[in-house]
């Protein structure tokens, strides 16, 4: 199944110098990029510094990004290289023996991380469970629309065919599903 490239619109805008579009990409990926960098770098302040450096490098290199790979794959390599360079500059060996290429696989292995990672800041399985339970409690049509989108990667058009409804309805259901999940997750995390 084809993975839909969902960043293309924002990347295009950012390539034209729109920093707001790039801001949304930073917000989207900073947590995952930080998790990657923490495989190389122990100290959480350093993780933030390297992550910042990686995003700035990425922004500068955006004109060279031609979309042959997904934006995240491209960003991932920049971040992994930034982390390695950081270690070299500090005269240290990586704490993880993962190579850049391996790291991409590791990132996909759910929950796998170095024991040195700052545990307290890791968004753990608790969040996953809360989100999952919020998803399970959605009305069927909202749950199905969001599930087909997030787990099965179907386009709105394919989901519309599966659910026998117009594309506009799919779009609205997915929005309402996300909104409902978010409300529930926030309520639960506040202890309600």
């Amino acid at each position: 199944m084809t993975v839909r490239e969902t960043d293309q619109q924002l990347v295009k805008r950012a390539q034209r110098g729109d920093t707001r579009a790039f801001d949304l990409l930073v917000l989207k990926y900073q947590g995952r990029i930080a998790a990657l960098i923490s495989r190389y770098v122990n100290n959480s302040a350093e993780v933030e510094d390297v992550a910042q450096e990686a995003f700035i490098k990425a922004f500068r290199a955006l004109p060279k990004f031609r979309g042959e790979s997904a934006f995240y794959t491209w960003l991932y390599r920049i971040a992994a290289n930034a982390a390695k360079n950081h270690l070299v500059a500090k005269g240290r060996r990586p704490t993880s023996d993962a190579d850049v290429d391996d790291a991409e696989y590791f990132e996909e292995a759910a929950g796998l991380r170095d024991s040195e990672s700052p545990e307290d800041t890791l968004l753990g399985n608790e969040l996953a469970e809360v989100v999952r339970s919020a998803l399970d409690n959605l009305p069927e049509e909202l749950r199905m629309a969001l599930t087909l989108r997030e787990f099965d990667g179907l386009s709105y058009e394919d989901i519309a065919e599966v659910m026998a409804c117009p594309v506009g309805t799919v779009r609205s259901r997915i929005f309402r599903a996300r909104d409902a999940v978010d409300n529930r997750v926030r309520a639960q995390l506040r202890g309600e």
């Binding site: 199944m1 084809t2 599930t147 099965d152 179907l154 386009s155 394919d158 065919e161 599966v162 026998a164």
Partner: protein
């Protein structure tokens, strides 16, 4: 019926082997040569229908190579030689591998025209397989709920000689092809009847194009669903009370096994969809399982 069908098959295949110029002229001069109902040309329709039925009417023996990412095996096969049965023997397993038999008659739940609603067909000259000349039938899914296929079919018998199963984005999942084959003639056996026993479960809303084609009571209640080309079995069994709801899946070549634990009317039920379909489709098929509405008095226990 079988004899006339076969004549039709031969005619359909013959049409395609004529020169391209003649073919184009025929289409240009004879606009009714396309089936308006489904947009297939008569030639395409006949070739596809011939391929769908070829295995039911062809007696053959040979060796098949079946492979996917984790397995490769040679199977010696003989089909429809007697009594509408076939037999196969795995050559790559133990030396004393037993001969297994299978029913070499089939039935169609959809014809080319119906399949054209879900798949796009293309026919070209194919590469020879096992020394026989072929037509290449490319079957592309119109959505991401089914796999695509590249079939090289025997030019004279329409039997599929090489079949590649691909995901909607073009990744090869499985391939089988005849390493050698000898086509021994035509056999005719009555098509089997698919049984449909009454059961405790129904399908509420299957993914587009799929329908229940049979219902069996083997080890557990089983519903068979198909879109006319791809097929899956849905096994429904009671589950332990302490099983948490959830789902899991494994993949073997083009076959997915997707298991979901659900609660229906207070009963824990395990639904397993086993078939040569994408995971998304398996999940949607499991979504569709509903218990039959039972009159209250039936519950005498």
């Amino acid at each position: 019926m079988p004899a006339s069908l076969n004549a039709l098959n031969d005619w359909g295949v013959m049409q395609l082997t004529r020169s391209a110029i003649f073919f184009l002229a025929l289409v240009a001069l004879w606009p009714s040569a396309a089936n308006a109902a489904c947009g297939l040309s008569n030639e395409h329709e006949q070739v596809i229908n011939a391929m769908l039925q070829a295995a039911d009417t062809t007696a053959y023996s040979g060796t098949v190579l079946l492979e996917h990412s984790s397995e490769r095996q040679f199977v010696s096969v003989s089909a429809a030689a007697e009594g509408g049965m076939g037999s196969l023997r795995r050559l790559t397993s133990r030396a004393d591998a037993p001969i297994e038999s299978f029913s070499a008659v089939g039935m169609r739940t959809a014809d080319a025209c119906e399949l054209a609603m879900r798949y796009v067909f293309d026919i070209q000259q194919g590469q020879p397989v096992a020394g026989r000349s072929t037509l290449r039938l490319t079957i592309k899914p119109r959505d991401s709920l089914r796999f695509g296929y590249v079939i090289e079919m025997d030019e004279s018998s329409a039997l599929p000689l090489r079949v590649i199963t691909v995901t909607p984005d073009g990744q090869v999942l499985e391939r089988y092809e005849f390493a050698d084959i000898s086509i021994e003639g035509v056999s005719h056996w009555p098509a089997p009847q698919l049984v449909s026993l009454p059961g405790r479960f129904v399908m509420a809303a299957l993914p587009p194009g799929f329908s229940v084609v049979a219902r069996r009571m083997s080890s557990v209640e089983t519903l068979i669903v198909s879109d006319g080309f791809a097929a899956a079995s849905v096994f429904i069994e009671p589950a332990a009370d302490d099983l948490m709801p959830g789902e899991g899946a494994v993949q073997h070549g083009s076959t997915v096994s997707y298991t979901r634990g659900i609660s229906m009317r207070g009963q824990k039920v395990l639904v397993t969809v086993l078939g040569e379909i994408p995971l998304t489709t398996a999940r949607l098929v499991a979504d569709a399982v509903r218990p039959v509405a039972m009159p209250r008095e039936v519950d005498v226990n």
